[in-house]
Symmetry: C2
Subunit: 697 residues, 2 copies
């Protein structure tokens, strides 16, 4: 499960009716619960577990959000943070050079001084929350049209965030829960000096590569350790997780604390059908296109292959995830069940005061979805910055930034409001490597696909090509651009909107040409679709809330959630998948494929084979309900001790957003004892293992 999936997972509905049915009977190990509303009754009923005072607070304050998508946890008093290799990978790659490929070879800071500062990583810890539902929903008066109401709510949120930031100095985000049934103000302590401490070699972290990704049984050491610094010294943290040397055991109750990115389990049947028939198939065409381009590029040589690796990995993951989700949606049984559930929910709400509003909401969503179906192609193909060139993305963000900064903060697009600018700046100004040739082929492919999908007569296509072929347009833009140069970008940002809009940089110019056409689609979607479905979804959320209350959990929002479950195998391939895997399995899978990539053993594992106790647990599965964004989350036991590290879901969980299935959906995690084993016996990192066990350096 890649962190990139956070923004792309579209997951669908455990409906209210099902939730209600489940609320009547035990809910199974389902739910991504907020820490404000943990499933106390369920835990007691199902597991006889009554958390002691402070249990939730300790876990919350030990949990870390990786602001670019992913989760982690403090594991020592000296600011050490455990996460996934694939969550940290972007940073590890940025720290790598032609001489030192830390992604390929791994990294270990033998001494604190050797810890490497990550170029643009921000970590957040959720320190306080407030219910601001009244303030946000009250901002929109009853008679307002959808667009105006949305703007009013956005303005209220921006104001709340800005006021909180001013008052507390803490990062402050308003979070919408229950589809607008509630709004909460979350405040985060933020760490921006984060240094790389340890990463295994890619082949150990991602053994089995794309074939094994999203599957189980698994044999991956997908972990990395970073450390947060304050004032150039390791931060002292009060709350961190005790490391369990024995780790997860089959059958035990475990918890995952992390940041599931996005679920849409309450979408209506109309919305699901748009996803199934229009949105996801189009999305897949884009991914397929880019992967083909990257593969061809990788074949040019070893250096090109290295350059393309991280992006290709992300796209392959997205491809499997979207295809899996689409397959789930195409299951007629799923859609019939969803229809039945919606019917039941309609019946339950009909007799209540919310009934008329709910019915109107369903109708409005149905009409908006008809519109959305006509806009999907424009949405994906009237833009230069989707799943392609990073430089083009940067250019598009700069141009958007230039336009948005000309508006009052509260009217800007999400991400461009004053309180959000500190998070945006590193993306625009930090020095990160770009590979011009790769950027060029990606941009050419993006432009060409727009031609193929929209036709040469499309106004956007005519504007961006300006009589050239896609390849020519990409060459002109990428070869002439200076956007790869951080000081150049810093100057542009310093110069503000005027500088950006006046720049003669050819890629910026291309982005400016694309901008109004892209923006028109975005506004069309916002006005005719999102504005409508947001308001209508909010009404449904309120209706749902009225019927079911806090017995249900809200959709995931990349904010801190708690899930619970059991370490447990599942039926697979006609037999049982085991609750855990061992190092025996790693060596077996490698030997089974004659050590051929992606099943080749890293050199260290060949050399240290006899030093390892091969029966040591390596990975394991649990019934916890998670989704992309949970990558890097700690798995803790009843005592709150860290027994594992979430890094994936099994293939059955690709449709987990639609309907959690305790029989088959599984969280896949690295075992805490496996990590100690390799730190000591493979990586000669005993000092680090000692810190984990002792909880301090």
């Amino acid at each position: 499960m890649t962190k990139q999936a956070r923004s792309t997972w579209r997951t669908l509905g455990l409906t209210a009716a099902v939730a209600a049915a489940l609320a009547a009977t035990p809910l199974a190990d389902e739910g991504m619960w907020t820490f404000e509303n943990p499933p106390l009754e369920l835990l007691q009923k199902r597991y006889g577990f009554v958390p002691p005072t402070g249990w939730f607070e300790h876990l919350r304050l030990s949990s870390v959000r990786f602001n670019d998508g992913g989760s982690g946890s403090f594991v020592s008093a000296n600011g050490l943070v455990l996460t996934n290799h694939h969550v940290a990978r972007g940073q590890i790659q940025k720290l790598s050079t032609a001489e030192h490929d830390y992604v390929r070879d791994g990294f270990y800071a033998e001494s604190p001084a050797a810890e490497l500062k990550c170029p643009d990583l921000e970590l957040n810890v959720l320190v306080s929350v407030d219910d601001v539902t009244a303030q946000v929903t009250g901002a929109a008066a009853p008679g307002m049209n959808a667009k105006v109401a949305l703007d009013a709510r956005r303005a209220a949120q921006a104001r709340l965030e800005k006021d909180s930031l001013s008052a507390t100095g803490l990062r402050s985000d308003v979070v919408q829960l229950y589809q607008g049934g509630e709004y909460w103000l979350y405040r985060y302590k933020k760490y921006t000096d984060v240094r790389l401490v340890f990463a295994p070699e890619m082949q150990a972290a991602f053994f089995g590569g794309d074939p094994d990704n999203f599957t189980y049984p698994r044999h991956d050491l997908d972990f990395a350790l970073v450390r947060v610094y304050e004032d150039d010294r390791p931060a002292s943290v009060e709350h961190f997780l005790t490391w369990s040397a024995n780790g997860a055991k089959a059958g035990e109750l475990v918890f995952v604390s992390g940041h599931p990115g996005s679920t849409t389990r309450l979408q209506t049947v109309d919305q699901l059908q748009t996803n199934r028939d229009h949105d996801l198939p189009t999305f897949l065409r884009v991914i397929d296109n880019r992967l083909a381009v990257l593969r061809a590029y990788s074949e040019r040589g070893a250096e090109q292959s290295r350059q393309a690796q991280t992006m290709a990995f992300g796209l392959e993951n997205a491809q499997k995830a979207i295809a899996g989700e689409l397959k789930g949606l195409q299951d007629p049984a799923l859609m019939s069940k969803k229809q039945a559930d919606e019917k039941e929910f309609r019946a339950r709400v009909a007799g209540r005061p919310e009934g008329a509003a709910a019915r109107a909401a369903w109708e409005a969503i149905g009409a908006a979805e008809q519109v959305r179906r006509t806009l999907i192609k424009l949405q994906y193909f009237r833009r230069i910055d989707f799943a392609g060139s990073s430089l083009a993305q940067t250019a598009a963000i700069l141009v958007t930034y230039a336009h948005e900064m000309q508006k009052p903060s509260g009217e800007r697009l999400p991400g461009y409001q004053d309180a959000q600018l500190p998070a945006l700046m590193p993306r625009l100004t930090s020095a990160v490597p770009f590979y011009a040739d790769m950027e060029e082929v990606l941009l050419a492919a993006t432009l060409q696909q727009s031609v193929d999908e929209l036709g040469g007569a499309d106004p956007y296509v005519k504007a961006v090509l300006a009589g050239r072929t896609a390849a020519e347009a990409a060459r002109d833009a990428v070869r002439g651009t200076r956007l790869g140069d951080a000081p150049f970008r810093q100057d542009l940002v310093k110069g503000g909107s005027a500088a950006i809009l006046a720049s003669t940089d050819p890629l910026l110019a291309l982005a400016r040409t694309a901008y109004p056409l892209r923006q028109a689609v975005r506004e069309d979607i916002e006005r005719r679709v999102t504005g409508v479905t947001t308001t209508a979804g909010e009404r449904l959320g309120q209706a749902r809330f009225a019927v079911y209350g806090h017995t249900i959990y809200p959709d995931a929002t990349f904010t801190l959630r708690l899930s619970f479950g059991t370490v447990k195998g599942y039926p697979m391939n006609g037999t049982m998948a085991p609750p855990i895997t061992t190092f025996y399995g790693l060596y077996d899978r490698s030997a089974s494929f004659d050590n051929a990539p992606p099943f080749d053993l890293p050199r260290r594992f060949v050399e240290r084979r006899h030093a390892l106790e091969l029966s040591t647990p390596l990975n394991f599965v649990t019934t916890n309900d998670i989704i992309g964004g949970n990558s890097g989350s700690p798995v803790v036991n009843r005592d709150g001790a860290l027994v594992g590290l979430v890094f994936d879901g099994n293939i059955e969980s690709l449709v987990g957003g639609v309907a959690y299935n305790e029989q088959a959906n599984r969280t896949v995690a690295v075992h805490s004892s496996g990590i100690l084993q390799v730190l000591r016996r493979v990586y000669d990192a005993g000092r680090l293992a000692d810190e984990l066990v002792a909880g301090r350096r």
Copy 2:
């Protein structure tokens, strides 16, 4: 894949149209070819393989049929035969006692004198074949009605068999190929003195138990070694397979020579629908019923559990196999494809001389299937001897024997004709253990299910219960019977029909009561269904033959066949199943389940772990087209050397009878180097390993 499956696999149709399409393009690794008609052209085209002179004959004469269902091969000049543990298991159990449980503990004859004679095992080697199509089909004159024609052909077959037996002294069977398109007389050298040489403990042979059965990746040492004797001395055999110490390699061309039990790949859509909607669901109800009874019985104690083990294993296998096949048939895509194929075949044959006969055949089959649907319940439930008590089976066979022996040989049921009596006698007269309590609960369950399915008013139910409950009737019959006593049975057989029909033994009496009612159903089915579909199927076979000739292979008939394929993994669970597994995997799977049954390691494997080279191949998969009955078949390479031992198919191959799919269907085999490894390093059977490598003692 259990040998029991031989009689129960109902596999369905690769249609002629598909075959034709495939014959035009390369046929993939498909087909169970006769040695008379090997796929020479395919092998040359696909693999560039041209077998040297004598290659086929050597392989054929090295291949052994286990007459009670299964395959094997000679692996030394001194009559040593390799087969599966599960093929030999019935004999191993019969050789076991309360003191020596060779199934549980394994067996190794340290010296030739210690080799144990199997109580009732016959091995066959196919030494010559003759085409007798003209003699058999000529026996039925064109105007005859179906029943008379069938009888005439059976009489001709019986005559051919008897004459050949008299003339050559060899076991002689007429084999119907291509649904009656051809008849061949097969002559076998037969061995009846067969002695057990080696068997691993059940837990090594069947590691992973029922969950892993029919699946892959796999880690089973499912092999056993027996030796044929002549004149109380090890037989000298001219043809035996050279043992490859390195064994199968990923990607290499391999052959399987063995005895696939039964496929019905040419059944019509009508026939498939009867199987899907009536036959298989009813069959499953019987198996479910018996398994529930055996499980309850096993819980009475360790000895009861031991008694029930072999039968429970067979039933669990059958359950998985039938359920898998039913699932395949319930796939709407499969049935649509079958319908399309049939349509195309109809179109191709329509313009030919065989067209009218073929059309009439389809119609006749359609009408017969309507009849069959009304008879399925009677077929399964008007009998005391189906998938239940062994003693009741013996009783039913004795009663049938008594009746059949009153007819001329040629008019008797298959299995009771003069040439077949030598094969029948051991079943009736040999000393094998029966467990009275288990027999009683099984018979009670059988009778009770007849009541439940047919109702108390059914004439059969009224007759067998005679006013008693099912439990009472079973108790009366089993507690009073002497059929467990071999001398008693030998006397009965010696006394002939009169003695059997006059015996006061209560189980025999029950079998005599059941006989006429069961017999009426059998005759009804034969007259109104089998007689019709056999003749009609023969016409379709002839039509098919006329259209496609020897470019196609005949359905399996538990006679010697050759298949070819490649050692190759396959897509599974979202990733790839490897071409081979290793001993690492055995230890991994055990540790993954905390060594809990059925994943517990045998004690020897715990103790000898460090003696093993864990990267040694253990099992592997190939694309060969096999089916139940192939268990124990050798896997040989281009040089004809033995590289493995077939013991199963993967779960995807459960529908393999319907349509071979090279992408997913796999043969599962034990690796020849894995066998050497454990003989030397785990079982201290170096002498035996030396014999395998040297090809002689």
